[in-house]
């Protein structure tokens, strides 16, 4: 049961990163890619009908984490207190900026929300990467299952790290570049002409950066957390993960060169998924490793809810996910094709 719920939560977080990832990427690129008001509108329309549905995966995933692994939810959310609160503020600012920008036709108003949209998207991407890196590196868990991290201490990974240290900052950079790339490929899929060409150029440039930081992240993880490789050594099949990561990376580049943007974007989805799956494999059966000694690790077994909760949960979760998938198909079908400036849903 613990194994199933570990992967259910992982799948929901992957869905969140892949889906909300492209609209975060659009936010990051928005000031650089779009040269005119029309292009800015096109970029916003490309995510308009879907961004909030994408964000629901975060809420649904957070809720699922809460009831399946209450100890993890309680410990991690209070331990990362300041970082999490900043994420919440950024989510508020970002949601408001997407929706309020078009309400008043005034240059200053729009420019203000463009700025907020870029800032919140960029910092969110960095924080998400840093958050994942924190989980991989581990936190100074106490005997009672709690910890508290400042935003930063001395930027070193040690027994008493801060939320930001060199490794988690690297994680933030990886996420920033990866989501910007993801967004660029998405824009190329959803737009035409100049904007599309510019998105492809950006994707190409970002790709080089992504390639470098992805390669750096691997030795980085091994230094910050020497035991990440345990599961890989025990199950060599897991080495498929880095191979698929590389294949997906090259796929993005090749398909984007050929102008097959859909396939390039799909490769980017695969890249993000497999990066996260790779991290999850390294963690299991730990949910949150301790830097204070492995006896303090929060493991699946330690954090798992009672059996009745989880049985009932499995039933409604399966049913609810089928419904959610149907809604997503409806919305994305209504919204398929290139975006245009006339009509609500772009066709």
């Amino acid at each position: 049961m613990g194994f199933i719920w570990f992967w259910i939560v992982a799948v929901m977080l992957v869905a969140y990163v892949v889906l909300d990832g492209f609209d975060l990427g659009v936010g990051i690129l928005h000031p650089f890619l779009a040269r005119s008001e029309q292009e800015r509108q096109l970029m916003l329309r490309s995510i308009g009908p879907v961004w909030d549905g994408n964000e629901v995966w975060l809420l649904a995933g957070g809720g699922t984490l809460y009831f399946a692994f209450p100890l993890l939810y309680a410990s991690a959310f209070s331990g990362f207190y300041l970082a999490l609160m900043i994420v919440l503020w950024l989510l508020i600012m970002r949601g408001a900026s997407v929706e309020l920008r078009m309400q008043i036709d005034m240059r200053v108003w729009k420019a203000f929300f463009d700025g907020v949209f870029f800032f919140s998207s960029a910092v969110l991407a960095i924080f998400y990467g840093a958050a994942l890196a924190n989980v991989i590196r581990g936190v100074p868990l106490q005997a009672d299952g709690y910890f508290f991290l400042s935003l930063w201490t001395n930027f070193r990974v040690g027994p008493q790290p801060g939320i930001l240290d060199w490794y988690t900052v690297l994680g933030g950079v990886v996420a920033f570049v990866a989501l910007a790339e993801h967004g660029a490929l998405y824009v190329a899929v959803k737009t035409e002409a100049d904007l599309q060409a510019r998105a492809r150029t950006f994707a190409k440039r970002l790709w080089a950066a992504l390639f470098v930081v992805t390669l750096l992240s691997l030795p980085g993880s091994m230094i910050a957390r020497p035991d990440t490789m345990t599961n890989y050594k025990a199950y060599p099949i897991a080495f498929a993960v880095p191979i698929v990561v590389l294949l997906a990376l090259f796929g993005m580049l090749l398909f984007s060169r050929k102008g097959d943007d859909r396939k390039a974007f799909t490769c980017s989805c695969v890249y993000l998924t497999v990066m996260l799956v790779g991290a999850a494999i390294g963690l299991y059966p730990r949910l949150l490793p301790a830097t204070t000694g492995s006896q303090y690790d929060i493991t699946v077994a330690k954090a798992l809810s009672g059996p009745h909760t989880l049985h009932v949960g499995l039933i409604w979760w399966g049913f609810g996910m089928c419904l959610a998938v149907v809604y997503f198909i409806v919305v994305y079908r209504m919204f398929r094709g290139k975006v245009s400036l006339d009509g609500g849903y772009g066709h």
């Binding site: 308009g48 009908p49 699922t64 939810y73 209070s78 300041l82 078009m102 849903y345």
Partner: protein, 451 residues
């Protein structure tokens, strides 16, 4: 500053601000379905225009409800980690279900409702509006189930590691407290929706702009308002109050300011509780009424606070007393003004009666105050417990998050919500000033995206 007090204020501030928006959207969602239904059945385009107009107001409120709602789900973990850790197996479930069953539904169909009218058939567009309504009311239900378990824990057991576990999921969902609270809460949301609609209708009629639409708003708002305002008192408020008297007698004693048990207990209409001397200052009271309201006979004995150890009194007691009295007082006002307005509407005199129109126009803040006061009553009445009778509030908060950190983020939320409030007022003012678009389905809305 006291760590627990700061965590309480943190949650209270963010949740009170958050609930300003859903109470309107849940009420309005129903009223929009009514408008759409009439538009189709009577083939009356004005009702479609009205629905589109309220859709715009709905969209902004919905957006703010969403973005201010996200912090709520996470604050159980950030600020109330010890509570979250022990009860996550029970209340994490309805919270996760809200995301899975309600938010996906709403996010998918709100876009269709707001921007899909041109390409959907009238009934399909009606369906989108209906599903948004269903989604928002499901959302409300799961939140109430969560809160009801904290008010009146049912169907649980404690596992060896001290964590609570559901024994019957069905009983968790059908907790009698949840059903009563849900009925009372949703009729409260309809009260807000109806009063806001009436207020704007009265404004348009008095201003003689968009008066035709203003009359439609008044008609729908008054009919919904009179039903919901009466239902708010009887049966939902009445049943909820009696159930509460049975299961949270200390809370009821605190709400009523009844320090000593007595037969033929009076109802205090106005007064100031004095905890030290255990009296009510300057009371205006009516004898026997409280006993009658709770037990149906004027001679029944009502338990006073003296029956309970001092460390089990709800606190802060005066705030509980005032919250309850503000809620009940305003609730009575709602029913009276709506009955008068409904009578005038029936006699065909409402649109000419400037006194009642003025009263309706100025009344729109009161349902917000009453709903907030009602929730304060529920939450303060439950004190000093976070889960009634099981976990004290003092055992629930995050011990590792110091007062310095929680004050920092509380101030952050205050600043951020000040900005969102200003934006909200500006944008809603613009929508009201522009008024409902007359004519057939106008150009696609200016907004780029659904909320």
């Amino acid at each position: 500053m006291d760590a627990m007090l700061l965590h309480r204020i943190h949650f209270a501030f963010t949740v009170v601000y958050h609930y300003l928006f859903p109470q309107l959207t849940m009420g309005l969602a129903l009223l929009i379905v009514v408008l759409k239904t009439i538009a189709i059945r009577r083939q009356d385009e004005r009702y479609n225009q009205a629905a589109r107009f309220w859709g715009k107001i709905f969209a902004i409120n919905f957006l703010l409800g969403v973005v201010t709602g996200i912090p709520m789900e996470f604050q159980f973990g950030t600020n109330w980690s010890q509570f979250a850790r022990t009860t996550g197996g029970v209340i994490g479930q309805p919270l996760a279900m809200e995301g899975v069953f309600s938010f996906f539904l709403e996010s998918a169909f709100l876009g269709l409702f707001l921007f899909g009218e041109k390409r959907l058939s009238p009934w399909k567009h009606w369906g989108a509006a209906f599903l948004v309504f269903v989604g928002s009311w499901i959302s409300g239900f799961f939140i109430i189930v969560t809160n009801a378990w904290m008010q009146h824990p049912v169907a649980y057991q404690i596992l060896p590691n001290g964590v609570y576990e559901v024994t019957s999921f069905w009983r968790l969902l059908t907790n009698p407290w949840a059903l009563l609270q849900y009925a009372h809460n949703m009729s409260g949301a309809v009260v807000t929706g109806a009063f806001v609609m009436c207020s704007l209708g009265a404004f348009y009629v008095l201003e003689n702009r968009f008066a035709e639409h203003g009359q439609i708003f008044l008609r729908i708002g008054v009919v919904a308002g009179v039903i919901a305002s009466v239902a708010q008192i009887f049966p939902t408020g009445d049943l909820h109050g009696r159930y509460m008297a049975k299961h949270q007698p200390a809370a009821v004693a605190g709400m009523e300011g009844l320090f000593r048990s007595q037969k033929g207990a009076p109802i205090v209409l106005i007064g100031q509780p004095d905890e030290e001397h255990q009296t009510i200052d300057n009371p205006i009271a009516v004898n026997d009424v409280l006993s009658f309201l709770i037990y149906g006979t004027t001679q029944a004995e009502v338990k006073g606070l003296n029956e309970f150890p001092r460390d089990q009194w709800p606190e802060p007691l005066p705030l509980l007393f005032y919250s309850y009295h503000i809620m009940a007082g305003l609730g009575t006002y709602f029913a009276l003004i709506m009955i008068v307005a409904a009578f005038l509407l029936w006699r065909g005199k409402l649109f000419q009666n400037r006194w009642v129109l003025w009263a309706l126009m100025l009344s729109f803040p009161f349902p917000y105050i009453a709903n907030t006061a009602g929730w304060l009553t529920a939450e303060l009445g439950r004190q000093p417990w976070v889960v009634y009778g099981l976990i004290r509030t003092s055992a629930g908060y995050s011990k590792y998050v110091g007062p310095g950190n929680s004050l920092f983020t509380l101030l952050g939320f205050m600043g951020l919500y000040t900005v969102t409030s200003i934006l909200f007022i500006v944008l809603v003012y613009r929508i009201i000033d522009k008024g409902p678009a007359v004519g057939p389905l106008a150009q696609a809305s200016q907004m780029v995206a659904p909320a």
